[in-house]
Amino acid sequence: MKLSEILQQLDAAVCTHPERADTEVTGGYCGDLLSDVIANAQAGQVWVTIQVHSNIVAVAALKDLAAVILANGRKPQEDTLRKAQEQNVTLLTSPMTSFELAGKIYTMIAHLDLGSGCR
C-alpha cells in the first residue's frame, strides 16, 4: 500500500518530504524506546511514536522506514524537522493516539493482504 493511501485516512499532516507519498508501506511498528525500534522495526514500515526529538531521524534513516508518524498531535522539534529534511525522512503528525493509528494502519494493510489472497 502507498503511504498516500494511509495518509488520507489518518487525518495526518505531512511535515517533510511530501514528494515521497508514493513510498510503498509494508507494515508498521509502534514504540518510544529507540533501542526497541532499532532492533525490531523493519525496512518499509511506518513508525508510530510520541518521541519528537531529532534522534528519531537517525533511527528512521538507519532502518529505511517509510515514514515516522508522530502521534497525539505532537509536533517535531525544530532540529528534528531540519534533520528529516536533510536525511530524506518523511515525517507526519496525526492527532490520533498510537493505539488508534496502529489499529487503522493494521486494518488497512491486513485488509489488503486478505484481498490479494482471494484473487
Binding site: L33, L34, S35, I38, A39, Q51, S54, N55, A58, L62
Partner: protein
C-alpha cells in the same frame, strides 16, 4: 574490493546528542555502496548505532573504526570514559544507568549491548573503570 581491506575511522563526541547516529548512518551508507548484502547491513547498522549511542550517552569521546574485507565487516569501538564496573550486569537485557532525562527521550532501554551481541557473529567487550571501554564487533560476510 579485489581482496583488499576497506578501512575508515570515525570520531564520536560524548554528550553530543545532536550528531548522534551520524556515524552509524554513514557506515550503513558506505556498506551499501560497497555492495554488502542488505541483511548483513541491517545487523551491522544496529550494532553500530548502539555502540555509537553508548559513547554519546556515557563516554567523553570515542572512535569507531570500520574495516571491511571480503570475509568480514569489523567494528572496533573505543572510548575514553568512565568504563563499566560490572560487564556481566551491563550485558543483561534491561539493565541501564541512563538518567531520567535520557529515559524520557527513549534512551536507556538496556538493550544496546545485548542487541550488539545478538547481531554480531563475534563480539568482545573490555572495560577499565576510569579509563574507557572497547568493543570488537564482527559480522561474517
Amino acid at each position: 574490493m579485489n581482496g583488499g581491506t576497506f578501512r575508515r575511522e570515525f570520531e564520536v563526541t560524548g554528550g553530543d546528542f545532536y550528531n548522534a547516529g551520524r556515524v552509524s548512518t554513514e557506515i550503513k551508507e558506505i556498506l551499501r555502496q560497497i555492495g554488502i548484502a542488505a541483511p548483513k547491513i541491517r545487523r551491522i547498522a544496529i550494532a553500530a548505532y548502539e555502540a555509537e549511542m553508548n559513547i554519546v550517552m556515557y563516554a567523553r569521546s570515542g572512535m569507531v573504526i570500520l574495516q571491511v574485507t571480503p570475509e568480514i565487516v569489523r567494528l572496533d569501538v573505543s572510548d575514553v570514559g568512565p568504563g563499566i564496573e560490572n560487564i556481566e550486569l551491563a550485558m543483561q537485557e534491561g539493565y541501564s544507568t541512563a538518567s531520567e532525562e535520557m529515559r524520557a527521550l527513549g534512551f536507556g532501554a538496556g538493550m544496546g549491548l545485548p542487541n550488539i551481541k545478538k547481531n554480531a557473529d563475534r563480539f568482545e567487550i573490555r572495560s577499565e573503570v576510569g579509563k574507557g571501554t572497547t568493543l570488537e564487533i564482527e559480522v561474517n560476510l
